[in-house]
């Protein structure tokens, strides 16, 4: 997705943490979770640890200043409910459960989100 309009973005602080974590774990990706406990949280994994498939949607990529952009996925069924949403990956102090790679740093990735504007939705072919 190299359009001007994107469904995903990243905060400066999250980008910095992603650079550190990439140095430690190698290339990373995100899969947006749903359900209880840490549901609605983005999970960050080394590429290859979590297998995406035909039931997933690539929402877009985020550029944090590394060689490769970081892919952000969501299950297609969840996307049906979330498709009008623009997601920004941010980070806060915390200790989320799940297997997301940032937990040992005492930080937790978090989704900041807003509805897509009408212009963005049009650009993404949704209107």
């Amino acid at each position: 997705m190299d359009h001007d309009v994107s469904r995903v973005a990243v905060s400066g602080e999250a980008a910095a943490l992603l650079r550190t974590l990439t140095a430690q774990h190698g290339p990373l990706m995100f899969h947006q979770s749903g359900g209880c406990c840490d549901g609605s949280s983005p999970m960050c994994y080394p590429v290859g640890m979590f297998r995406t498939g035909p039931g997933d949607v690539l929402l877009g990529t985020i550029d944090v200043g590394l060689d490769d952009p970081i892919e952000v996925y969501m299950s297609a069924s969840q996307f049906a409910y979330w498709k009008h949403t623009h997601l920004t990956i941010d980070v806060v102090p915390g200790r989320g459960a799940g297997f997301s790679v940032e937990a040992p740093t005492g930080m937790r990735f978090l989704i900041r989100s807003r509805l897509l504007t009408e212009a963005e939705a049009r650009e993404l072919g949704m209107v």
Partner: protein, 515 residues
């Protein structure tokens, strides 16, 4: 918001403070092979109480090496444990329950300090339910029988229940002791050995429980390794020597655990929660009586455990003819919720379990407003002052909106309910089922037929009917759709932790005749 001053009322002292009924150690290692051991890499992490936001102990930061050690200890114990009699296992479970009961107040205060939930709940629900869970499985274990089928005059099929071996269990942070016991009691009853990883937000109360009951359990039968998901949870879930993995949490990790299980070809049980609907049909308002009062409490159940329950009734559907009147009455009930120090027995809603939960919930309060949902009450974090200022408190919040809004569809896992109206029975069912999940639901009506039809039509594993948030051991619990696989509680759960051994025996005196 009432805060009762310490010393004036019967507020429990914080664990470790003067006059407290319970004390956490300053540091815990892992519990492996019946002993407290240092993590192999010697690392620890700080454990924070959400009541004040301050650390209160250190806990072992486990890695794959610790998981290996725990799995080996468990297999070593299994050699003997697998031969234990049902009577011996049942007695052990009953003794654990008795010991917990003797220590109920200590466990309740410790759990509140660990998780932030009000001591009113831990005293009346979390710990008593955990105790009863052990007793339930101690009982059903003795009554479980295998079967035999006579296939013909000379041939008999015998079916035996056998334990699986060593099982892995990954526990959530919303009911740290109760959710651990939900998984431990059936696994132990069935004769398995366990390696259990608590959540990193709530790693210590289960260790305190092991301090209290550890001597009743043969060494290595229960092993507890703490640590972060990526460092300890993933090595446990993917371990080639476990025979089953059980997990409670969210969908992405649930999928990852299934992926690991597919590598090792082992069974999984998953409990992944969702957005549970709570449906109020118009006849509840026919009379202003005890039943109507119960329905108002039913609406308010979204605030139980600060909304941090997999089955939180986070979508409230109210029939249009009673919408304004019932919602008005229910909101009065919500406003009467006492928020305060979780260690005060008067407090009804305490702290969210962690800072990141707190941040996520506040972000959804913004999202709800941005999308045009109307805040009917609450909608803000709460500063309780003094030491509690550093804790993670959010006012019980009622949003009014429509089912397509994000606050109706995404898991907030906080004390937030989104309310909408419906016209007909069919509308109610259609809205209720318009979700990816299907763990819990509530139906409220004075009509037995409406209750029955709605209960059967809702795609969820547990439909509370004219009640909500009851969790007896003797009722099966688990999800439809993306809320998970398998069931917890009930005799049914025993079989999730058992193999079926079939002995097919011929008593014929002669050959079959093929050769």
């Amino acid at each position: 918001m009432t805060i009762v001053e310490e010393g004036v009322s019967s507020v429990y002292a914080a664990p470790g403070a003067k006059g407290s009924v319970v004390e956490y150690r300053s540091r815990y290692g892992h519990y492996i092979g019946g002993e407290w051991v240092e993590p192999v890499k010697g690392q620890y992490f700080e454990n924070i109480t959400p009541v004040t936001g301050k650390p209160f102990c250190e806990v072992g930061r486990g890695t794959a090496e610790d998981i290996d050690r725990a799995v080996d200890a468990a297999w070593k114990a299994f050699a003997t444990w697998r031969k234990s009699t049902p009577a011996a296992r049942s007695l052990m479970l009953n003794r654990i329950a008795d010991r917990m009961e003797e220590n109920l107040e200590r466990l309740a205060v410790a759990e509140t300090w660990e998780n932030g939930k009000p001591v009113r709940e831990t005293l009346a629900a979390d710990i008593p339910l955990a105790i009863d869970h052990f007793r339930y499985f101690a009982g059903v274990l003795r009554a479980q029988e295998g079967s035999l089928s006579q296939l013909d005059e000379d041939t008999v099929a015998y079916h035996f229940h056998e334990p699986l071996g060593v099982v892995g269990q990954i526990i959530p942070w919303n009911f740290p002791i109760l959710m651990a016991v939900w998984k431990l009691a059936p696994a132990l009853a069935a004769g398995n050995c366990v390696v259990l990883k608590p959540a990193e937000q709530t790693p210590a109360s289960i260790l305190l429980l092991m301090e209290i009951v550890g001597d009743l359990i043969p060494a290595g039968v229960v092993n507890i390794v703490n640590g972060f998901g990526i460092e300890a949870g993933a090595p446990l879930a993917s371990h080639p020597k476990i025979r089953k993995i059980a997990f409670t949490g969210e969908t992405t990790t649930g999928r990852l655990i299934m992926q690991y299980a597919s590598q090792n070809l082992i069974p999984v049980t998953l409990e992944l929660g969702g957005k549970s609907p709570n449906i109020f049909f118009e006849d509840i308002a026919d009379r202003d009586d005890a039943f109507y009062d119960k329905a108002k409490e039913g609406f308010t159940m979204f605030a139980l455990n600060q909304g941090e329950v997999c089955t939180c009734p986070s979508r409230s559907l109210i029939q249009r003819s009673i919408y304004d009147s019932f919602l008005g009455d229910a909101i009065e009930r919500v406003k009467a919720i006492k928020q305060g120090n979780p260690l005060d027995p008067e407090t009804m809603i305490g702290a969210q379990a962690s800072n990141d939960q707190f941040e996520k919930i506040t972000s959804y309060l913004d999202i709800g407003r941005q999308e045009g949902a109307k805040v009917l009450t609450g909608g803000e974090p709460v500063d309780l002052g003094g030491e509690l200022s550093g804790g993670y408190y959010i006012a019980p919040t009622v949003f009014e909106g429509s089912n397509s809004m994000r606050i109706f569809q995404e898991e907030i896992f906080g004390p937030v309910v989104s309310v909408t109206s419906f016209d007909t029975y069919d509308d109610a069912i259609s809205i209720a089922n318009d979700t990816l999940y299907g763990l819990g639901a509530g139906v409220w009506s004075r009509s037995a037929n409406i209750c029955y039809r709605a209960g059967r039509a809702i795609e969820a594993g547990r439909v509370w009917t004219n009640t909500y948030h009851q969790y007896p051991a003797h009722a099966a619990f688990g999800g439809y759709k993306q809320s998970g696989i398998g069931r917890e509680n009930h005799l049914k759960m025993l079989e999730h932790y058992q193999q079926t051994k079939n002995l097919l025996v011929s008593y014929a005196e002669g050959a079959q005749g093929f050769f």
